[in-house]
Amino acid sequence: MIELRNITKTYNKDGGVEVKVLQGINLTIGRGEFVSIMAPSGMGKSTMMNIIGCLDQPTGGEYLLDGIEVAGMNDDDLSSIRNKKIGFVFQSFNLLPRTTALENVELPLIYSPDDLDIKAKAKSALEAVGLGDRVGHQPSELSGGQQQRVAIARALVNDPTLILADEPTGNLDSASSQEVMAIFKKLHLDGRTVILVTHEPEVAAQADRIIRMKDGQVVSDERRAN
């Protein structure tokens, strides 16, 4: 479902220095795969996730999502794709403060063109991550693990085919990390494509396929036989 062909991304830092973060990424990820992308910090993992998630555009190369070239799309089309097909999970949770878990999970549904029972869908997403009893809690009233589970509920509430998790366990203790990883495994078993970025080998090892990056390029691509 994801095809990256010679993707490059170059940032212009203040002072005119060019930083070539991605230097020709070639990668194909099929529907329903559970992939982890590993690289040390600052190596362009988030940059790549943003490109895959249609939040950012590459400087060069081609990106086909479900066979459609993303580069030519306008901002509204990209927004629609993010809304329908993609669910982001971030390292720092990125929940709205002073907003209940339920309202946080409702967020993607608000921007859906479909006529939905927003409250009911959000509530069942929270139940799916084991937080049916925390709907009225604000982020400040939840533990880190619970906050990340709210964030996962938000990512899957619109029923996307692709879950993109950028260091989802980076801010969690090991017990919470395990809970969160268990949810990702379950999402994968439900048939969703899950791409997980991490620099922790133990986390990466839980995926079926591990892709390692260095200096803006893919250096290894290893599949685990289950």
Partner: protein, 403 residues
């Protein structure tokens, strides 16, 4: 996005920042409240003036003794208007239905038993009642016999009755004017305020002859009032009166008139002119406060957009279009100003009523301030919210989400 969803988003955004929302609303509340107070009170004042003009009489022309520069009622020292002038008018002007020459002496002490009060004393003929369309509510008016016999009968205005007799029936009682005892034969209907705000019910009417010969020993009239059968001829009659008086008083152009002629149309014109200037000035003031309120909102919204970059980035990541973000922030500005407008109108109404109560000024509440407030507030909201909303919508999602 559906309007109801935009409203919901904007409302919850505002609810999360209550203090800020309050501050944004404040300017609009003050501006709209000022506007409402101005409109209610000027309308009240206009209403009062129009009532005064109605009390003056729509069909009337009035000539007063004394020059154009003089203001206020003439007194006994101005001897420029005489019975002969009145007779000349009656003889040569067509279409006069009633003509009422009368004298007027303000601030006269009126005594009844142990009580006394100050009132204006008018020397009148029976025509006075017709010329003013103002009759006795109880008892009789001054009659022809009273005038020809220099009788010591009088008719009281309702303020004098209240001051001297309270709830008692004054008919047949005695009042003392200038050391002369008068018998009360009638009470006038209530009339209210004159165009100048004078209490028209604070007066005593006596026969014209009695006033001129017995009380004040003068040949001078204070005023001559003409009741014209056709109000369209007011200006024509006014001009005729002026011409007759100039000729009879031998006044040539460089010389100033020793009398004043006015009618209700002219009075309404002057007073409307004054209140229009005042209203324009106050409306300008209210507009300035609305503009300032709008600037405050625009600034606070810009700060808010900066502080909520992360929220904007998150929304974009989950599928919000640039347009959705713009509508959300524009919605916030509009809701602030609309609620501010409604709150300001209510506050303005409360203040108007309070001022009306304390200052005894009339306030007229109407739908205009409400509609104006909604229109103004919506305009201010759109103008103030547009720039911040554009800025929010234009943020790059990747950078925004970093906060």
């Amino acid at each position: 996005m559906k309007t109801s969803r935009i409203i919901g988003l904007a409302m919850s955004g505002l609810a999360r920042q209550k203090m800020r929302t309050f501050l944004m609303m404040l300017g609009i509340v003050i501006g709209v409240a000022t506007l409402t107070v101005i409109i209610s009170l000027t309308k009240g004042a206009q209403h009062k003036v129009m009532k005064g003009i109605k009390n003056f009489g729509a069909n009337s022309v009035m000539a007063s003794a004394g020059g154009g520069r003089m203001f206020g009622p003439p007194d006994g020292s101005t001897v420029t208007l005489t019975m002969a002038d009145a007779e000349a008018m009656q003889a040569s002007i067509k279409g006069i239905k009633h003509i009422a020459p009368f004298t007027m002496h303000v601030a006269q002490t009126v005594v009844a038993g142990s009580k006394n009060t100050e009132a204006a004393v008018f020397g009148v003929t029976p025509a006075f009642a017709d010329a003013w369309q103002w009759f006795a509510e109880k008892g009789d008016f001054i009659s022809d016999e009273d005038v020809s016999g220099l009788s010591k009968n009088c008719v009281l205005g309702q303020t004098v009755v209240r001051e001297l007799f309270g709830d008692q029936d004054p008919i047949g009682e005695t009042v003392r004017l200038n050391n002369t005892n008068f018998t009360v034969v009638g009470v006038l209907t209530k009339r209210g305020a004159s165009p100048h705000g004078m209490d028209m019910d604070n007066r005593v009417l006596v026969p014209l002859s009695t006033a001129m010969r017995r009380l004040y020993n003068t040949t001078a009239l204070g005023m001559i009032r003409l009741y014209v059968d056709d109000p369209d001829r007011l200006d024509e009659v006014t001009a005729s009166v002026t011409a007759i008086l100039r000729e009879r008083h031998h006044i040539a152009p460089p010389q100033e008139d020793d009398f004043r002629v006015t009618n209700s149309m002219a009075m309404a014109g002057t007073i409307k002119g004054v209140s229009k200037t005042l209203t324009t000035f106050l409306l300008l003031l209210a507009s300035i406060s609305l503009v300032v309120g709008g600037l405050v909102i625009a600034n606070i919204m810009l700060i808010s957009v900066n502080e909520r970059k992360k929220e904007i980035g998150i929304r974009r990541a989950f599928g919000a279009k640039a347009r959705d973000i713009r509508q959300q922030f524009l919605g916030e500005a509009l809701i602030v100003t609309l609620f501010g407008g409604i709150g300001g109108t209510l506050l303005g109404i409360a203040i108007s009523l309070a001022i009306a109560g304390i200052k005894k000024m009339p306030a007229v509440l109407s739908w205009e301030p409400f509609v104006l407030a909604i229109v103004f507030s919506a305009a201010v909201g759109i103008v103030a919210g547009l720039q911040p909303a554009r800025k929010a919508a234009g943020l790059d999602p990747v950078n925004a989400i970093k906060g």
